[in-house]
Amino acid sequence: MKKVVDVSLPIGPLHPCFKEPARIKCETRGEFVLSAEVELGYVKKGIERIMRGRPWQEVMFLAERICGICSVIHNMTFIETVEQLSDIAVPDRAALLRVVVNELDRIQSHVLANFSYCYTIEHETLAMYLLNLRETAMDMLELITGARVTCAYMIPGGVRFDLRPEDRQTLERSLTHIDTEIARFTAMFKNGPLIGLRSRGIGILTREAALEAHAVGPTARASGIAEDMRLRHPTYRKLGFEPVVYTEGDNYARIMVRFDEVRQSIRLIQTCLEMLPEGLIRGGGSVVAGEATYVGEAPRGELTYFVKTDDYGRIVDISVQTPSIMNIEACAHYMLTGVTSAADVTSTFISADPCVACTER
């Protein structure tokens, strides 16, 4: 007779499906997951402590080194926090260029997240297609900012480089290419019967649970929460931004939110290019003493910076709350509970797009 036994199932800290080290400890009955815990602490950087006492000119480079996948939004949120506390205005052209670069970063981050998910559910073909497409977005980031990952593109009062006319044409061609390809890959994901079996109805995060754990970003929007910090951003408001929302709350919905947001980001960049006025890309202003809390929308959700500066522009105190903290917690304590197969633990975890580098900032 088949036996069902209670098992403690440790996954990680090193696992082929994880990009970074984290340890999931599942308590299971047979393969049914009763509860899960996540242990971290393997790659803690202590970057907030490193930042304290340093001038903002150094901290802006440290901020984008919190995460290698969404470095642009760390740069943007830190700079916009500093601008808020110092009352520094940004020229219109620079504000739109910031959105262009930020959305390119979101595209590559979402495509990478969906690559990881497809790879985890063993759909390597679609995974490799997506990883290949990500390179187009990375190339565009490099074209505009001069770097693929740590771009340091945004500075108080503007951006560092303008968009040249020839680069604009290349960008428009690349966006069309990404749009066409992402539509094809979305259809592959939507219509794949095996993908559906591995994704639909698995790892469900209810709206109530998402609210309790303060889940954010695509993870929350896949559970019916229409919350997106871009709705509060003045430049995005001008672009008529509306969040993408699904209500199923399962792995499938989380991946589909990201696919839809990639296409939405393409539209946002195209709108920015149409609206891009001639003019300066840098205004004036200097960083003064003060403190401010500012929230930006990272690819994974709400990113909060609290910054306190002194008269010389040094960072006296800083605190960073990254979206992965909330999303990994929601994943470990709500999505994984009730998963019926141990094989779905890793795919459910990856569907929340966990970033351990952000979490262990």
Partner: protein, 129 residues
């Protein structure tokens, strides 16, 4: 043979998480609410929560401040959902019993402040055991 890295004692890492400004504020607020020492609260958190829950404490505390225990004044003052759901340091059933007891005492005519004070003391004792 050395110990495995993933089996190492992570208490120092847990303590590092809790010493950040936002976490420190949450621990101080909970300690103040229930009349406990902050170090006691930190120890309870480290013993009863996994690391990702520790990391997420400030966000969960903010959610409780905004929406938790919204329906009932007694529950809000005792922080029933705070201590059992949003910052889960106590057994929800035991907290429900203490809360129901405090409401019953108020209904029978005990002054509200006295009943709440006793409720908070009961929660404090329960947290310490």
């Amino acid at each position: 043979m050395g110990d495995f890295l993933y089996e190492k004692d992570l208490r120092m890492m847990q303590y590092n998480i809790l010493t950040s400004a936002r976490h420190n504020g949450v621990a101080a607020a909970i300690a103040g609410h229930y009349g406990l020492k902050k170090q006691e609260v930190l120890r309870m958190m480290m013993e009863r929560m996994d690391m990702i829950l520790l990391e997420n404490l400030p966000a969960r505390y903010e959610v409780w401040q905004a929406t938790g225990d919204a329906g009932d004044e007694t529950e809000r003052k005792l922080g029933c959902e705070l201590i059992s759901r949003y910052v889960p340091l106590a057994d929800p059933q035991a907290i429900d019993r203490i809360c129901a007891d405090a409401k019953e005492r108020i209904r029978k005519g005990t002054p509200k402040d006295e009943a709440l004070s006793e409720g908070l003391q009961n929660i404090r004792e329960m947290l310490r055991t």
